[in-house]
Amino acid sequence: MTDPLRPDDADLPSGVKHSAEYYARPRPPVSLFGGRGPDRYMYGLGALANRLVPVLGGLGPGHPPLPPSPGLRARVERVTRPVPDVAEIVLVPELPEGPLPAWQPGHHVDVVLDPDTVRQYSLCGDPGDRSRYRIAVRRIPDGVGSSRLHALEPGDVIGLRGPRNAFPFARAERYLFVAGGIGVTPILPMVAHAHRAGVPFRVVYTGRSRASMPFLDELPEGADVTVRPDDEYGTPDADAIVRDPAPGTAVYVCGPPPLIAAVRARVGPENPVFSERFSPAPVVDGREFEIRLGEDGPVVTVPADETALDVIRRVRPQTPYSCRQGFCGACRVGLLRGNPEHRDRPTGGSPRGEEFALCVSRAAEGAHIVVDL
């Protein structure tokens, strides 16, 4: 490269040459096919755009701005305890105004207890029954969300968002379903569907003990179901659970993270394996620091156990972000001042020091940084 506007290859970030930075200041197009003259075709495209911009700019929007979408509110119809620390909660629409949104096996809802306490639970009832949703919640010691759900009584009203699908249930020739403990909830409607549709399947259901495993009585009778409590069989063994699935078997696993990891690692490359998406990793080794949003903007404090993005979204709810794990770059903003501790893994884009990834990057205890937001 001889163009002085371009960085030398050695200065390029993260080893990628053809990065966003490399193409940040493109020169006007020169001919691609011999000669040094301007590229007529590209200039023609540019001229066409310049003529269309004022024409299309005069068009008003196709419709006026839309009002915010209304949330969904549900009334607790029934709370039961199938096993001691699991609450089975049946929800109906708050107002009898017609059916709840349709869902498929694998869908979950967000339960909005208050704006800062939102929890995701798999729908585990019958998708054919649009008059009610069923969720099941295991009480987590010291868990804020689960204790509040366990305290619900018939007649209480809660907010819902969704349903959404982070565990897509797709057609396959046969299935292997692996459930661990409360992870049985998304698996139940999948099993019921496969059973009704006559698709061959096998279920392995693990848990601490039979007495702690909910919905044992809801697995179809006469089907290939293995109940494998740890107190009878020892800790789950992926080899014994997975065996060698026949070609065309899709594996669905839901349960504690070690079970999911073991099953995923054991399933061979020719069998599709599905497990539910979860929220991003918690903050590790965080210290409290401050961020100013623009030179003249407000200052927010980022606590040790939260990300800058969490805190900033409360002040600026429209801040773009995506992966929340520091690789996609969607939440990177300009860094105006301060010494951050970069924790992102930028995939190209701006060189270190000029940007700050809100979702993972931090600063030292009590430090103050200023971002362009």
């Binding site: 990628v16 053809h18 990065s19 966003a20 193409y23 493109p26 006007p28 197009p29 691609l32 096919f33 590229d39 075709y41 590209m42 495209l45 540019g46 066409l48 755009a49 269309l52 911009v53 299309l56 700019g57 005069g58 068009l59 929007p61 196709g62 701005p65 839309l66 915010p68 979408s69 869902w103 498929q104 968002r161 969704g162 699908n165 982070a166 897509p168 797709a170 057609r171 396959a172 993270p257 990891a261 995923r264 690692a265 490359p269 069998n271 599709p272 599905f274 998406r277 991003p280 990793a281 918690p282 903050v283 590790v284 773009p320 995506s322 992966c323 794990q325 996609c328 969607a330 190209g348």
Partner: protein, 311 residues
Amino acid sequence: MTADATHSPLDEPDRLVLHARDVQFDWSRSDLHWIPNEPFATHVINVLHLLLPEGERWFVEVFKQAVPHITDDRLREDVLGFIGQEAVHAEAHAGVLDHMDAHGLDPTPYVEQIAWLFRIVLGDRDLPPGRAQSWLSTRLAIIAGIEHYTAVLGQWVLDAKELDAAGADETMLDLLRWHGAEEVEHRAVAHDLYTHIDGGRTRRTVAMAVAAGALTTLWVRGVRFLIANDPYLKGRIDGRRPKASWALRDGRRGLIPHVGRLARAVPEYLRRGYHPSHHGSTAQAVAYLALSPAARAAESAERAATRKAAP
């Protein structure tokens, strides 16, 4: 197989939560001509690597500008998921540009033109507020039109058994199919966003007409550029200059998308009642993502990181 027929719910998982996958590809064992003995078809598909990095970086910038105008929670979530996926796509294809460069085919002259198109011609313009909103709408309409093409191409590559039969490089096939599957997975987002923010038919029609025309010519120019600058080909394949009829031939052989399928995409998109969910198969896309070596490795790494961080 095309999946335009009606579906039972199980065939089409819906309301998907879209999320970016932190994929990595190692090109050290891949050839420049990754479909063996098919340099023409290889370069027809390689044009995607020339167009997508700068194109998808631009999608991300425009979509980020649209986020504050969204009033629907579910659409906002979809758009945020889309942004992350597109950002990772752009950089994955940029990795292929480095790979080409390492083999003596420097793509810079062509890609710099694409950068000029997206960053200057289609970039932010100094406009009064009403016109600025309209310019945002126009750019969203262009993205919606292009996204119909990326969904058609994504479905094509998921279906293209002929590439496997031809012995195409496995890493490249995984890149194309992971990307294609995510395009099919998020194919409704750009359409839904344009419909939500503006929805005007005239703008949408003009944007698609211009986008389809420009894509066609840029694709032809890209193939010419790659064959002319390929150090092994030096402008000739088997001693002959490339001909347009070869695109029809390789389309019929299933090694590249058929021109007829691409041409049909325009009337299909402009028909009243069009919705991206009527074309392509989400079930097939999620099934591939559950098999893709790159997507599985990304998910394992992500789960391991979360387990390490968990208290």
